[in-house]
Amino acid sequence: MSPAPAAALLAGLVAAALLADRTISVAAIAALLLLVCLRAPAPRRRLYLIGALFSGLGVFVISPFLATIGSDVLWTGPTLPVLGTIDVTREELHVALFQGLRLTAVTLAFAAYALLLDHDRLVQAAGFARRSVLTIALATRLVPTLERDAAGLVEALRGRGVEVTGVRGRARLVSPLLAGSLERALNLAEAMEARGYGRPGATRSPKPSWGGRERLALVLGALAVVVGALWL
């Protein structure tokens, strides 16, 4: 399928997850997106799925301690300065689950976009805002690029007999990874400028034409927004 309608369908599902009021509806959308992500090769999808799981779990675990809603108290903790008495209510847990699932659905939609869509064709298909679409496509590459760079750094350290273990050992790689990313970004910007990027009068390769599947994906994307707003 052409990536533009597929991206529109994913955007429709994200909108539905954000507009839906019921936990079960958001859970169903998250489950559907998880099934989509599972079509990607296992080594590539691993990092994205872990990210989606932990971001949702993070919201579920932390938000009950910060929210102050509901009267059905399940647990009462200590009283802390600024925050007051820490307690967890049934209503807070419910809201936390709902928001956690929402965030999981959004991150899974991004994962599906990053893992399964052909970003090159997405940029080529962009009828307007081509620069923005290219920027998003380049930003999407950051995750796998950082993963590859991190693996390279760890391998070079192992090649010197230095094992990278534990959170602290890995945390030490963050700074060189970011510095490397900045250096790479500068080199890429220079290469893009040398290849005429930003020059007026640019053309683009002919776009592949859309068939029935592409049109259906667009309709389903729009339908997801409407259904999410009215019935979910």
Partner: protein, 449 residues
Amino acid sequence: MALARVEQLSFTYPEAEHPALDDVSLELEPGEVVALLGPSGCGKSTLLRALAGLVPHFHGGRFAGRVEVGGHDTRRTRPADLAGTVATLFQDPEDQVVFTRVAAEVAFGLENVGAPPARIGARVAQGLTAVGAAHLAERRVAELSGGELQRVCLASVLALEPQLLLLDEPTSQLDPEGAEEAIELARAAGAAVVVSEQRPDRVLGACDRVLFLERGRIVLDAPRDEALGWLARHRPAWVPREAVLPAPGSAQEPSCRLDRVAFAYGDARVLEGFSLELARGEIVALVGPNGSGKTTLAKLASGLLEPSAGSVTCSGRACYLSQDPGRYLVRERAEDEVALAVGGDLARAREALRGVGLAGFEARHPRDLSSGERERLALAAVLVAAPDLLVLDEPTRGVDPERKDELAALLHAQASTRATLVVTNDLVFAGAVADRCVSTAPEREAALV
């Protein structure tokens, strides 16, 4: 009429103490092939960037003099507007890739310069076919080997059909056959070509004229034959040498043994039943075409990978030097970076830095070093551990001939303390440094020796 003219160009990078280019003047004629030689950090890449307009537009700095390309003054014309007239192939292919698939990557420049949409597909195919990479058109860029990626980048610039082609070490990741083809392709494109190279044997045979830079100044600008005489008299390390490879032979009392090893990345099998023995005191060169499994074998020998079949038995400590010196930039001081492998022993780190000619660089940030200096820092970072098995993967990439001679001398001087495996496409270096030569393409072994 000259295609490009450089008049009294001096340029200093922002915050640099010394100029990268100092009073450089030259003219380039349409269709001529110019070899740009000189030691690491002498200003070769800066001169190419000045011809592409990237200096000063992209880098800033102090710029004096005038550069004119195809009738455009580069100070008044943005590099993007020069694209198409000028095309640049940068040193590191990984840092210039914009798209995820090969065909889209090659099309990117054509779209930017406004090529007619109906012609883009044909020109992409033409560019890829010219570099022997037509079969890669639908592949993902991330799945390509370094050599394949370098071919794709070359196709990207050739597809633009520029008047001036600037190639910054275009053969650093190619095997000898691939390198020869790349230079010939550039010549056949009909454009004026300026090729910056650290391996003079790869470019001097195909060029019309030679420029030699030192400390930002042109010390030689002469036709090839005259230049060869000058190099022989004044810079003998730069005279092309014939690769004389030692025989394959076999190890006496091996300290490391790879026995019928096999390895595959996913479904792609790269090694099958390969055996290799290494003995203390010897230096073995591992050669072979791009994609034949040299790096994989090096990683198996140093214990970074486990074979899927066969066995690897090595005694003592093994150290592996990666192809990419960018992987040796973890700490913020050069001496701390080197000391990582010896538990923070700064005295040993300083000694190792001295050994590779980086005395005085101890407190420098590794990212502030030039590419040649980074290569030497990476070398110090593995040599400091005094390993029993030293595995060097393409240690001469981006290293000038004088430094290569020094590296060969250093490896020879320390050879008795360890077994050394050098993975390289640089057959001249392999011939100079190795006691034995092994190929990952055994059918070509006889031809190599």
